[in-house]
């Protein structure tokens, strides 16, 4: 399917420029690809390999380690419901059952309109707010069945678009690192002095 678009290739080159070794940009570029297509396609992995000087197999080897990179299409909204201890004690399981019946799919499935995918997740480090879930990695705390229904209604109505972008978008504000802050194409072992911008200000 899709290789990176022209605009994303431009961004990719900017990202690669931040690192002394192009390969270091593999994971940021995978995020970029997931943002573009909602999941990571084979073509995108091959393209990333070309951009960072790795084989497709190496990109795949790296990408497939990460649970959050998806290799099959997922819904526009990926809902991860926590199933670990605290949440389970506080009603996480019931929440999952409710979610399944509300959306008419099993955990792991995607609604036929392509809007929602349900996943069971491990502890999301919000145990004090149990039971919790994430929509495209944005938190919702102390979720009851009613909250859940409201959330789905709002998402369906497009009311949360500004808060919750489509699956794959890590942040709506792009990180921008001025060119002079990057180390450039210097191997870490060859760097002997601090960067110019540090200019005497003790870093440590």
């Amino acid at each position: 399917m899709a290789r990176l678009t022209e605009e994303n290739v431009r961004l990719a080159r900017e990202i690669i420029g931040r690192y002394p070794k192009p390969r270091s940009a593999t994971i940021p570029l995978l995020h970029l690809a997931q943002e573009q297509d909602g999941h990571i396609t084979n073509d995108a992995m091959a393209h990333i390999g070309e951009l960072v000087g790795a084989t497709s197999a190496e990109v795949y080897g790296t990408a497939s380690f990460y649970e959050m990179f998806k290799f099959e299409p997922v819904g526009k909204y990926l809902i991860n419901i926590c199933g670990t201890m605290s949440c389970a004690l506080m009603g996480g399981e019931e929440l999952m059952h409710h979610a399944e019946s509300r959306l008419g799919i099993h955990m792991g499935g995607t609604t036929s309109d392509g809007l929602f995918t349900l996943e069971k997740a491990e502890c999301q480090a919000a145990c004090t707010e149990a039971p919790c879930l994430q929509v495209n990695y944005r938190y919702r705390y102390r979720v009851t069945s009613e909250n859940f229904d409201t959330l789905i209604d709002q998402l369906q109505a497009g009311e949360l678009n500004s808060e919750i972008p489509a699956h794959g978008t890590v942040a709506s504000v792009r990180q921008h690192i001025p060119a002079d802050r990057g180390v450039g194409a210097v191997a870490p072992e060859d760097v002997t002095e601090g960067p110019a911008w540090l200019d005497g200000k003790a870093a440590l």
Binding site: N42, T55, S56, A57, Y60, S64, F65
Partner: protein, 789 residues
């Protein structure tokens, strides 16, 4: 005068080496070198530490934890992974305490928890490090009663290699090999975590030229090779150590057979040569020896076909033909396929008959005067400050030499300067790589040498020039002149000749080199003009291998009588009047000489096919019939005679018998005679200059008669720069017409931005239309027009 470099490991060692470290292993004091790993020091001291992931030719990763040992520390003994821990002065290591034993048993038990234990149906069973070490270092019992993992079995990760994932113990040997050694990281650990597995990218196979090595080094039966899968059990195999003669690297192998059939070659670690690695072509072309199409008995032409005849009748006809031929009208082509003994006996016969027309090469290498420069070994090249490549893509032609040079460049031991028409497998590893289109390499060398940065690099230490025929559509004089230009600038530089054919150096050294410049081209020209009354093809197939196809055809057709001595009925042999079946590799004993001039042995493992004979026997018998009896009846006789007659061979045959690494025969170097640089051919109206280069897999007889390899040849095509493709106006993959004043052929066109503008790359000897129709030996470069159709 002759000197012999016997390669003895530094015998004299005066005082204590400052890098020496002494440690104690199991109470015994052992000397090691600073930086050695404990496991390597233990190996050297014959103390076995079990291991799966450690491999002495790859970087340690500490993946399997099987090599735990105890090292005395300030707070008492502690467990360390011996493959990751370097030795230190005074270190006290124990490999046999109850604590170590417990750890090793524990590791084995964990590995076996996930392992199917299907040894009875596993190819590795009987030679499996996991099986062996479970027996020697395991508890003998498992507490794991749960269901094991199941995967689809097997998956083909390439045309040659299969993977049974449930057997994999994740040692990282195959993936490390692909990345570190082969430089083709096309397999990787994927789904890392509980489901980690070795995998390729979807639809992108592990198409490495070196893929067979991962099968050999996999410590379990997870990786198997298609040509050997389910063919034999290790205990049914017999083996003898030998040398691969597919190309002139001369990798050390073991030849394994069962029931008189060759079944497998495995790499053997020869430190100066192959480090245990083989390329896939050399590893799997044993199939060709077993081919049904082998010649089994002498054949005599009758009408348009052949009839089987007896050896005596065949040899009788040949000797009568030779006896009645006008003096000076007998020619011998070939000899680079056989052993030194084969070449020597044929050269002896040629001398006795007064044959001046002889050449072991088919205008596909460099003149034998390349040996007149001071010669380098592979090791010397891998230790040089600068290596200058005036050679074909070594990955395609001399694969394991590519591996060695790549390794040296990756470890920053050498700097490579490459001068080539197109990018090669070593371009990424080169310090400087310049594009010089066919016919301009001399200028490119001169320009490079004038660059002060390059000059400083060259002045920084020893220089080795790797010289070979990069482009078969370019006269060899260009490469020779370029080499000469380097030597003129750097007189201390030495040369590593990268001639491709298995024993080409041996054949040239032992007397099958052209005399008075009368090389294959002029022999075929003479033959075309009716001056050859008997042409003997010694495992040579000019119709397939001479770049000028027209010349080859005319040469074969013009010979009054053609004798082909070969293992198969090749294209040229089909035109012969008499065909004699030759014994193949693995069917005869002898010695061979690699590109460095290293002499090693090759061995007979199976019975020769049919009534085939070794080439040297045929020469001896023919000599007898012609009244030139050499009084030779055994191979030992030949070797004795060879030792007496050929400078440098005095002690090799006995030395070879005992040494894996062989003996480098160094023939004294005549002084260099300056080489007149050819004039650079100006561009004419044809806009593309052709680069005809070899791929590892082509229509070579050993490849097309090996079922596992025959389909790996990429096929004929022409590759040009994308902008040139646009100009030609053809679509990628479409057929285009490639023509010059000699001929015109139709080839599919491809684009690649790595091909310089104005250059057209056409692989040699591929299935499909033949570029050789456009090549004439008189043209020192070949220019063509490319038109869309």
């Amino acid at each position: 005068m002759t000197t012999i470099d016997t390669n003895t490991e530094a015998a004299e060692m005066p005082e204590r080496d400052p890098n020496a470290v002494s440690i104690t292993i199991n109470g015994r004091t052992v000397e090691a070198q600073k930086g050695d790993l404990i496991i390597a020091a233990a190996d050297a001291a014959d103390e076995f530490i079990p291991r799966f992931c450690y491999h002495p030719r790859m970087s340690p990763v500490g993946m399997c934890r099987q090599c735990l040992v105890e090292v005395e520390g300030p707070r008492g003994p502690m467990m360390v992974v011996s493959c990751m821990t370097p030795v230190a002065e005074g270190q006290i290591v124990r490999t046999d305490t109850p604590q170590v034993k417990r750890a090793q048993e524990g590791m084995i038990e964990l590995l076996l928890a996930n392992h199917p234990l299907d040894c009875p149906v596993c190819d590795k069973g009987g030679e499996c490090p996991l099986q062996d070490q479970a027996f020697s270092h395991g508890a003998g019992e498992s507490r794991f009663v749960e269901e094991k993992r199941h995967y689809e079995k097997p998956i083909a990760i390439s045309e040659l290699v299969f993977l049974d994932r449930e057997r994999c113990i994740l040692c990282d040997r195959c993936t490390r090999f692909a990345d570190e050694v082969a430089g083709d990281p096309l397999i990787s650990f994927t789904q890392r975590g509980n489901n980690t597995q070795v995998m390729t990218f979807p639809d992108e196979p592990f198409a490495s030229y070196f893929s067979g090595n991962v099968v050999q080094i996999c410590p379990v039966g997870a990786l198997t090779a298609q040509p050997y899968r389910f063919k034999a059990r290790p205990w049914d195999l017999e083996q003898r150590e030998s040398t691969c003669t597919t190309c002139s690297v001369g990798c050390r192998t073991v030849v394994q057979s069962s029931r008189d059939e060759l079944l497998r070659y495995q790499g053997v670690d020869s430190d100066p040569v192959n480090w245990g690695w083989l390329c896939d072509r050399g590893r799997f072309n044993f199939q060709s020896v077993n081919s049904e199409d082998r010649l089994e008995s002498p054949q005599v032409k009758s009408g348009d076909s052949f009839e089987t005849t007896s050896w005596s009748a065949a040899l009788d006809t040949i000797s009568r033909t030779i006896r009645h031929a006008t003096p000076g009208s007998v020619a011998i082509l070939g000899g680079a396929r056989g052993t030194n003994e084969d070449a020597f006996m044929w050269a002896q016969l040629a001398d006795a008959m007064g044959v001046t027309m002889r050449d072991a090469q088919l205008d596909d290498g460099l003149p034998a005067s390349i040996f007149n420069y001071s010669q380098a070994t592979i090791d010397a090249a891998c230790k040089a400050a600068t290596v200058i490549l005036l050679a074909p893509d070594l990955k395609e032609e001399l694969p394991v030499l590519h591996i060695r040079l790549r390794d040296a460049a990756e470890k920053k031991k050498i700097r490579i300067i490459e001068i080539s028409a197109c990018e090669t497998g070593l371009t990424k590893h080169a310090w400087r790589s310049v594009r010089a289109e066919s016919g301009t390499s001399v200028t490119a060398v001169q320009q490079l040498m004038a660059d002060p940065v390059v000059a400083a690099q060259i002045a920084s230490g020893s220089v080795v020039v790797v010289a070979g025929r990069a482009n078969l559509a370019e006269g060899a004089e260009h490469t020779m002149a370029a080499v000469d230009a380097v030597i003129a600038a750097v007189p201390t530089a030495s040369v590593l000749p990268a001639l491709r054919r298995g024993n080409v150096r041996g054949a040239l050294t032992l007397g099958l080199a052209p005399q008075n410049g009368n090389d294959a081209v002029s022999i075929l020209e003479a033959s075309a003009n009716g001056h050859v009354e008997c042409l003997i093809l010694l495992g040579a197939d000019p119709m397939n291998d001479v770049a000028d196809a027209d010349l080859a055809r005319r040469g074969i057709a013009g010979a009054r009588f053609v004798v082909a001595i070969d293992t198969f009925l090749t294209q040229s042999a089909a035109h012969a009047d008499i065909v004699l079946p030759a014994s193949a590799y693995g069917e005869k004993d002898g010695t061979t000489m690699n590109l460095e001039g290293r002499v090693t042995n090759v061995v007979q493992k199976i019975t020769p096919r049919g009534t085939s004979r070794a080439d040297w026997m045929i020469a001896a018998e023919l000599g007898f019939l012609l009244g030139h009896d050499t009084d030779v009846t055994t191979l030992a006789d030949v070797q004795k005679l060879m030792a007496k007659k050929v400078a440098g061979f005095g002690t090799t045959t006995t030395a070879v018998a005992v040494k894996r690494d062989g003996v480098v025969v160094s023939i004294p170097t005549p002084t260099r005679t300056a080489f007149a640089a050819p004039t650079i051919a100006a561009r004419n109206s044809y806009e593309f200059r052709v680069d005809v280069s070899r791929k590892l897999y082509d229509r070579a007889v050993g490849t097309i008669t090996s079922p596992a390899l025959v389909n790996l040849a990429p096929g004929a095509s022409v590759t040009i720069h994308p902008l040139d493709l646009e100009r030609v106006g053809a679509a990628e993959g479409a057929n285009v017409r490639v023509s010059n004043n000699h001929s015109s052929i139709v080839l599919p066109v491809r684009s690649n931005e790595k091909v310089p503008r104005g250059t057209a790359v056409v692989p040699f000897n591929q299935p499909g239309a033949d570029i050789r129709e456009l090549v004439r030996h008189g043209d020192s470069v070949v220019d063509v027009r490319i038109e869309s159709m």
